[in-house]
Symmetry: none
Subunit: 257 residues, 2 copies
DNA sequence: ATTATATGCTTGCTCTTGAGCGGCGAAACA
DNA sequence: TGTTTCGCCGCTCAAGAGCAAGCATATAAT
């Protein structure tokens, strides 16, 4: 196995388990512990992991605006679970919106089994993912490319989203806090997300467990605007309480849906 | 086996195995390890693989999947020549339109050395190619995804294109005939192309030599709407005559531009 | 015919790896 | 809290694999 591939796999393992142990990695990759230590050193220097005594832990930094391709690699299993759950909420023929996020790409992939969907999006990645579906209606908002992201923003994006009325808005975010509500890293993205909410009947929030109790830079909307929250792990009681009180339906894998 | 073919096969192998080893490839293609290393170098530079000590690893998060990357590489020489010639016609700060076509992707690549360009396009491929430029203004028309193409069409695309006034429209086509004018395969695409022409001061037609004297299904416009024609080989005298009579400037490589 | 490109070979040089060793950190126990 | 003990760490070294660069040759494009 190549060194780079080994490091990639260590990263994947980190994503899943949130921490790795030097001795385990050495055994499973059949290399010396010293080599693993050097790998972790490197990942540490690259800012992808944090070394600690005996191993390394994942770096969590939801408030920082990471480049898309790095953010994308995080918590893949969780995002896949969420995508499957959301797929269960969508019916053939639905009109939905998808925002620019890694989760949305997974959702788009999961939705491909559906028929005759109409999708409105400002995400280039979602459009590309959906470029091969048949008899769907994939609509692009238009707008200005946000530098470094595969996403469209600005007045024309808002206008383009507002031109349609969807059944369901599917949305992700960076921060999810009881007081500060639903937040994201960038004002322009928030505007577009709000436009999606404003023009949809039902609001589905896709948010993995790591986002709970975190706050990002810019506010999208209050918690109460969400109708359904889909996540990858059962939230704390305090959250379930809040959802109940606010009349928000919360869906997570153990539900057995 | 041609070098290009070998590199494509290396890419295919990468898709399957996630990683390739220099020594194995050298043995299976019966070339020296240096040659393989040079191949991997190139794939690395093109962003299709990541070199590692002893081999290379796949880059998974490239937004466009392999089929598009491979398709894009057919008939490189002509398209690249055209792209370079067109690059010579564009100045820093220009506002241009780019239509959905392979040639446009090459043009976009060639234009990356320019500064502060504003690009209006309905091509997803062009947008992705330009997703990493700095201080440009990349604007997407919006519209409906045309099934099987990475292009946006329909009334919203037309409207989105019409919302801006460009300096130069850069356009390609499928057919180019003295009587039938400039034609393309699809009515929807033609509409969008016409919108680009209608909203630009100068019309640059990028058309490789194989398109001369061919007719495609749907008419974009008359020959006379073109201001500059850029092609990859010196056209016949009869064409040069026509261009002269119509006041169309024709640019081809031997020009020494 | 001439230029450009691709390939193979050789020669140092670099990178990765595993082993050994002294030192430090962490947890258990007094 | 202080001490002990064990395991982990970082450093260094040497071996070996892999690499870049330059050059000569072969092949393709013009």
């Amino acid at each position: 196995m190549l060194a780079l591939e080994r490091r990639n796999r260590i990263l994947e393992e980190l994503q899943i388990k949130r921490q790795v142990v030097v001795s385990d990695l050495a055994r499973s990759f059949k290399v010396s512990e010293e080599t693993i230590r050097r790998d972790l050193d490197r990942l540490d220097k690259e800012g992808l992991a944090k070394k600690s005594y005996g191993g390394a832990v994942i770096i969590e930094d939801s408030a920082i605006d990471l480049p898309f391709n790095i953010r994308k690699k995080r918590n893949i299993p969780g995002k896949q679970k969420i995508a499957e759950l959301i797929s269960g909420l969508i019916e053939d023929g639905d009109h939905i919106t998808l925002d620019p996020s890694t989760t949305s790409v997974f959702i788009a992939k999961a939705l491909k089994e559906k028929r005759r969907l109409t999708v409105i999006t400002n995400s280039l990645e979602v459009m590309i993912e959906l470029s091969d579906v048949e008899s769907w209606n994939v609509i692009c908002s238009g707008g200005t490319m946000k530098e470094g992201y595969l996403a469209l923003t600005g007045p024309r994006a808002i206008e383009g989203i507002g031109a349609f009325n969807a059944d369901k808005a599917i949305m992700s975010c960076k921060g999810f806090d009881m007081v500060k509500g639903i937040t994201d890293g960038n004002e322009l993205f928030c505007e577009a997300k709000r436009a999606m909410l404003d023009n949809s009947r039902e609001h589905i929030l896709a948010v993995d467990h790591s986002k709970f109790d975190t706050i990002a830079f810019s506010k999208i909307c209050d918690m109460e605007r969400a109708d359904i929250i889909v996540t990858d792990e059962k939230p704390d009681e305090k959250w379930l309480d809040l959802f109940m009180r606010s009349g928000i339906r919360c869906i997570y894998p153990e539900d057995g849906i």
